[in-house]
Amino acid sequence: METVLWQVLAGTRGGPNRARILRAIDERPRNANRLSEDLDMAYNTIRHHLEVLEENGVVTSGGSDYGTVYLPSDRVRDHWNTVERIISQIDD
């Protein structure tokens, strides 16, 4: 899981933005639309990142409707130290 986290958040093209999304839904679970507004990123970009994060078991969602709320997965909660270390290096 640690390797997956470093890879998905720091090793891929959208990594740093994915780290911002993860930080945001940790503060408060949100749907893609709210994330798009709050992080000032295109809705489709947010959807793509959420999809990748979900495929890698980093976030979970309530379903696949328009208003689905995303939150960090239990597996990520177990490795939250790693997430904090990654997120602490991003300042925007």
């Binding site: 891929t12 959208g14 740093p16 780290a19």
Partner: protein, 93 residues
Amino acid sequence: MSLMLDAARLAAAVNVVLLAVLLVIWIRNYREIRAPLTLGSIVFGALLLTENAVALYFYLSPPAMPALAVRFMMILQVLETVAIAVLAYVIWQ
């Protein structure tokens, strides 16, 4: 013979381009997030890029070689391209 050499040239050229793209992504990310994994990827990518640049240079003015040697070098080069392309696809996501 010349077809195989062309395939090896093309594969090496594609590798150089793909690795350059990967290095740009990794270096940008490393500036933002100082992950050891990303740093390792940069070193790995840079060395592989060097290897392919040298190979390309060699293929552009090769000495006379036995056909068997050319064939095997072409196969290795193309396999490398497939490997790098898979990696690039995942990283691009």
